[in-house]
């Protein structure tokens, strides 16, 4: 193996977690293809595929697509990456047996949840809104994954805590700040999910206990939006650390990077009601409070954009770029694939960030809620900003962790281009068809063919959907090419010997305000959560619940 013997246990964990995450991505994306095919108006029927790709298969695949890509791929990759960053940047060992336990539980839970999904007994999509009912193994499997993630977080925090005790006057490396932020958001966000699953959904599934929809949605979205930042923060960490590193420069401002991490930490959780703007039963003032906090969580993204562009400008000028925009062309756009991947991911994420600000709007949300606009938005965030950054990072991680060379950088670059063009078509098509009212999460709807309705909207819906789905096919191909190259490299790539140490963060200085006040920052986060969620919770519980009995999704 290529790794240093010192981190044998940690690296084995990272290898297993990262490989498993890619398997999940491949499995989930397989069904992305099914969705793209069903959304071309009339295509299924024309090809005679409507006997093969049935609504049941579509919705089962949609569940798998969401759970595997959005939760499992991200969570497993993040665990692997976090271990790599913390061990290398801090030069510490982590608690081996607990790490192994977390890994086994997470994979075991995943396999348990996979059985009912694949059998079609958990076709409740990844939001699993009750009273849609799934086989109890689905809920229990996911609960085990969450518990495993808590053990994992405890292991990492324990390591960081010991390092901090030994080095009280040293600055926490920037990459580790990213890891801390990610895990803090996760720990803030998951307890209500555990409550929903264990006390509402499991009794519903086992004993037919009725569930109040509003209560369940409140706690699901308490978790559901921070989950988004849980994906995003490791990608941001890569942008702040790996991107300057491959350019041979330092991040423009370490201080502002830390400010961004701290703001993400504080504002990521108390925003979930912005998924419930059009829900009855929650007072608009509370929704507006969450809108306000959502706008504040856009601030660190804007700061990050500035910081990254400034870093790029500095690298471009160091390469001899002159004038107002000369530094842009001086960057190694297609010379260094790691740069290409991260830069394209950042550009795509930028567009997704803007549509995110639109979604967060208290009123415009009416027009886009649950339409194709939303997949158009989040495929540019988690589907590119995050997934593309992770895949790019694996170009660095695979030689280091598996001791194998990437077999072909040409296919990697081709995959990047397909991904970039495809996702742009997909999102723009999604935005337009969403504005025309096309719903998301739906199998080839009959009204796209034949019903006499006001024509111009339907035409826009149809043509924009076709653009979106062509884009989906393109970036699916790009993803398949990329994953194929990675799997092939891990198995058959040329062995590379690796010597010396790898750090991804800039050299740490003396401890700053942020290290000394981490406790205060965490308390501010908790207080904001308490304020923003106790009000709607009091409202929901004091008006009395109105539970509805469970219903199976397919029959």
């Amino acid at each position: 193996m290529a790794t240093t013997p010192k981190f044998a246990v940690e690296d084995r964990f990272a290898r297993v977690a990262i490989l498993f995450s890619f398997v999940m991505l491949a499995l989930g994306s397989l069904f992305g293809l099914v969705q793209a095919l069903t959304r071309f108006p009339g295509l299924l029927h024309a090809l005679g595929l409507d006997k093969v790709i049935t609504p049941e298969l579509y919705y089962t695949g949609l569940t798998l697509h969401g759970v595997a890509n959005a939760i499992l791929f991200t969570a497993f990759f993040i665990m692997g990456l976090a271990v790599f960053v913390v061990t290398r940047d801090m030069n510490i060992n982590l608690h081996g047996p607990l790490l192994r336990l977390a890994c086994m539980m997470a994979i075991g839970g995943t396999l348990v949840a996979a059985v009912p999904i694949l059998l079609g007994q958990a076709t409740v999509l990844y939001t699993f809104y009750p009273p849609l009912n799934a086989n109890v193994l689905f809920y229990l499997g996911l609960a085990v994954v969450v518990v495993a993630s808590w053990i994992f977080a405890a292991v990492v925090f324990h390591g960081i805590y010991r390092w901090k005790k030994a080095n009280p006057d040293k600055e926490i490396p920037l990459g580790v700040w990213g890891v801390i932020t990610t895990l803090v958001i996760w720990l803030y966000a998951t307890p209500p999910l555990a409550y929903e699953v264990l006390f509402l959904l499991v009794p519903m599934s086992l004993a037919g206990m009725p569930v109040d929809v509003l209560e369940a949605r409140l706690w699901f979205w308490y978790f559901g939006h921070p989950l988004v930042y849980f994906w995003l923060l490791p990608a941001v960490t890569l942008w702040y650390t790996l991107l300057p590193r491959v350019l041979g420069t330092e991040v423009f401002s370490k201080t502002m990077a830390k400010v961004a991490f701290v703001l993400y930490m504080i504002f990521s959780t108390p925003v979930g009601l912005h998924h419930q703007y059009v829900d009855p039963g929650v007072h608009p003032v509370f929704k507006y409070l969450h809108a306000t906090l959502t706008y504040f969580v856009a601030v660190p993204s804007f700061l990050t954009a500035f910081n990254l562009i400034a870093t790029l400008e500095r690298a471009g000028r160091a390469r001899g770029g002159k004038g107002l925009f000369g530094w842009v062309t001086a960057l190694p756009w297609f010379k260094d694939p790691v740069f290409t991947g991260l830069a394209l991911a950042i550009i795509i994420f930028g567009t997704g960030g803007f549509s995110g600000v639109i979604n967060a709007s208290f009123q415009i949300n009416y027009v886009v809620h649950n339409t194709m606009w939303i997949p158009g938005h989040f495929h540019t965030t988690v589907g590119s900003g995050v997934a593309l950054s992770f895949l790019t990072a694996s170009l660095v991680l695979i030689p280091l962790l598996y001791g194998r060379q990437i077999v072909s950088m040409k296919t990697v670059k081709a995959a990047f281009v397909l991904w970039f063009v495809g996702i742009m078509l997909f999102s723009v098509g999604g935005y337009l068809s969403g504005l025309a009212g096309e719903p998301r999460r739906t199998y080839a709807p009959p009204y796209l063919n034949g019903v006499q309705v006001t024509a111009h909207l339907l035409d826009l819906m149809k043509s924009a959907a076709s653009v979106a789905m062509s884009g989906a096919l393109m970036f699916w191909l790009g993803g398949a090419l990329f994953l194929g190259t990675l799997f092939f490299s891990v198995l058959f790539g040329k062995r590379v010997a690796f010597e010396g140490e790898v750090k991804i963060s800039p050299e740490p200085g003396p401890a700053s305000w942020f290290e000394k006040n981490l406790k205060l920052i965490l308390i501010v986060g908790v207080v904001l959560i308490l304020i923003s969620y106790s009000l709607p919770a009091i409202e929901v519980y004091s008006q009395g619940l109105s539970p509805a009995p469970p219903q199976g999704p397919l029959k």
């Binding site: 049941e56 919705y59 949609l62 999509l125 809104y129 009273p131 849609l132 929809v213 509003l214 401002s253 201080t255 419930q276 703007y277 059009v278 829900d279 009855p280 039963g281 608009p284 507006y288 306000t292 706008y295 504040f296 856009a298 601030v299 804007f302 700061l303 500035f306 400034a310 709007s361 208290f362 009123q363 009416y366 027009v367 809620h369 649950n370 339409t371 009212g437 719903p439 998301r440 999460r441 739906t442 199998y443 080839a444 709807p445 009204y447 019903v451 006499q452 309705v453 006001t454 305000w513 008006q543 009395g544 109105s546 539970p547 509805a548 219903q551 199976g552 999704p553 397919l554 029959k555």
Partner: protein, 170 residues
């Protein structure tokens, strides 16, 4: 700990922008009355079909007329009760003559649905156990014709078949 001057300028600009956006949203919500759905009315899901009579009615009974079996309100102010059940809307054809303001009251008998009139800002989640009430101020330039009412929240295997027609007459 260095913060560059450009970063300070940018940070204040971004904060200012955020405040302006939020002020605009607040003004639209409470100045112009464009706020989000709000109701605390509850209804047992199993009894929804009996208690919420689906159909069109007038806010002011004095201006109500029945023309060819269609309810017509002279002042353009309508009540519409809608029942969502897998996989259909009741009524599945709503006819409104020259509507100005429509109050929708919607509930579900089984799972979560989404009530959306494509191309308008009518879009509300429909829960079993709750009545969602929204008021639609119909744009004066709304062209007569058939509009799609879609279910936009996944509700089971027949979700894609769940739609209805809103007919606007002038």
């Amino acid at each position: 700990m260095t913060v560059h001057r450009e970063e300070k300028i940018w940070a204040f600009f971004v904060l200012g922008l955020t405040v302006v956006f939020l002020a605009a949203l607040a003004y639209a919500a409470w100045g112009l009355g464009l706020t989000t759905p709000y109701t605390v009315e509850r209804i047992p899901a199993q009894k929804a079909a009996q208690e919420l009579k689906p159909g069109v009615d007038c806010v002011n009974p004095n201006v109500k007329q029945i023309v060819n079996n269609v309810v017509v309100c002279q002042d353009g102010r309508y009540y519409v009760n809608v029942l969502a059940m897998r996989f259909t809307w009741l009524p599945n054809r709503i006819v409104l003559t020259d509507p100005k303001e429509v109050k929708f009251r919607i509930t579900s008998t089984d799972v979560i649905h989404g009530f959306e009139i494509a191309g308008t800002n009518v879009n509300v989640m429909v829960f079993p156990g709750y009545i969602a009430e929204i008021t639609w101020k119909v744009p004066s330039n709304m062209a007569p014709g058939n509009y799609l009412i879609i279910c936009n929240e996944y509700c089971g295997a027949g979700h894609q078949n769940m739609y209805a027609i809103l007919e606007i007459r002038k």
